[in-house]
Symmetry: C2
DNA sequence: CGCAGAATTGATACATCTCAAGCTGGGTGG
DNA sequence: CCACCCAGCTTGAGATGTATCAATTCTGCG
């Protein structure tokens, strides 16, 4: 059931994810993070890995969704599309994020891999059964869902009330912060990170056109808030300065 | 602990909510809907009712939130406000909706009553304890949270991609649909309902200014899509026609 | 080398915002 | 009982931010 993807930067290393959950890179953050060793064993029995290429769509809105799972590595997106083609990204899935909705048969959004993606999957039915018997999973899923709801509401503020410049700064700040956290780097001063989204994907997330995204990035560059390093690299010389541009409370500071 | 509100249309009838959950108007939809009779008894022991006047703020963002609870009657809103005053509504709470987040001490948003409001409250700690021992509550809360997340994502599409006219039509459709459901009326043809939101509140929900809201409502009225009945009443002569104006898939039709 | 996808930049159009002036209806106090 | 008042609403005129349409330029890659 494992699909390999030779030509998109996914090394065979992906194959070496062991069946052993205890050395899983997302062990401490994913839906399984609260599980006891014997609960993990039961999860191990039903899990399987799947890989997807960048650009590949895992599920189409309205399709049957017969698995759920966690992002192990890579980035995916959830999108809504209107009949006339207008598209809005409604979720960005990073490692440890959960995909799918227990108790619902059909997907509500398109799910697409943005980068090469590896998922730890469970068939929906067995997972639902296991969840019913394993409060540690249900509790963690509730917690993660509440976090996602908070993030979605934060995003509603951005979509409804922020200017294009503030939107871009907010998006960049999310990736910069994540990068700093991953490397356990300081959350101030200089941060260099890779932006996995194209201008169009950024536009879809921010409710803008790609031209406006491009212009605002140029403007932030011109003002010295960011600098571009090659195609994908973004350098933030002063993270606090970037935060000022987001329009968010900068002192209160318990931002996600 | 019950606060009465004599001058805003709340009759003393509110006081007659019995301690008995079994004849509660939201019994079948709220967080307690899955509970067995003996579980209800334990909930009854710790619950208490609170009433709020229209306009009253239940909690301020950042404040300690030491209770959670369900809306029994009335309408409330969740709002985010930026430092410079820009405001975005991020949630609309109708009867049976749950307020508060177990496991979190401080509120993330302002919660304000829009109409006179009655809540069925639980102190947070005892509720969390009970939830840990009562999977039926946790399961239902997860389900409700997932529904809210879907609604929030639907709203992200509206905020990011819909025109002002589509936004207004979408909001009106929500209330019209709800009215039809409550009265078990048909979901087509003529629907008359009361709009509890002011133009400003609608603007905050839709990411518009109140002037734009007013203009678009006038436009929809001019085009015969709606008619106004007094200050608050809105008549939709043809619900299908209103749906066409929302920009949503009108045939697929499994809309929330 | 040259192609294709991605990004930038320019000129113009237009939807929505902003500022401002009245309107309306229900409540209140003289 | 009426005049006033005020919050909520409507409407207008002009400003502005973002979208749209279009032309290059960049970048990585076969």
């Amino acid at each position: 059931m494992i699909e390999i993807n030779r030509d998109s930067g996914v090394s065979t290393q992906e194959l070496t994810f062991s069946k052993d959950c205890s050395d899983c890179p997302i062990r401490h953050r994913a839906v399984c993070s609260r599980c006891e060793p014997e609960e993990l064993i039961r999860l191990e029995e039903i899990k399987y890995y799947r890989s997807f290429e960048a650009g590949q769509t895992l599920v189409w809105s309205g399709d049957r969704m017969d698995f759920v799972g966690s992002v192990v590595s890579g980035v995916a997106r959830l999108t809504h599309t209107m009949e006339d083609g207008r598209t809005q990204m409604v979720g960005l899935l990073l490692p440890s994020d959960f995909v799918g909705r227990p108790g619902r048969e059909r997907a509500s959004y398109d799910v697409t891999a943005i980068t090469p993606l590896v998922m730890c999957c469970f068939r929906r039915k067995p997972f639902e059964d296991l969840m019913a018997r394993t409060p540690h999973i249900a509790t963690r899923l509730l917690e993660m869902t509440l976090d996602e709801l908070d993030a979605a509401r934060e995003w509603m503020l951005l979509l409804g009330r922020k200017t294009a410049r503030e939107k871009i700064a907010s998006l960049l700040a999310i990736f910069a912060r994540r990068q700093a956290q991953e490397r356990a780097g300081p959350m101030h001063g200089r941060i260099l990170f890779e932006m996995p989204l194209t201008r169009e994907a950024m536009a879809d997330y921010l409710g803008l056109t790609l031209e406006t995204v491009s212009r605002q990035i140029s403007a932030l560059k011109g003002d010295g808030v960011i600098a571009l390093q090659g195609k994908r690299g973004i350098l933030v010389p002063d993270f606090a300065r970037l935060l000022e541009e987001t329009g968010d409370d900068t002192d209160g500071g318990q931002l996600v």
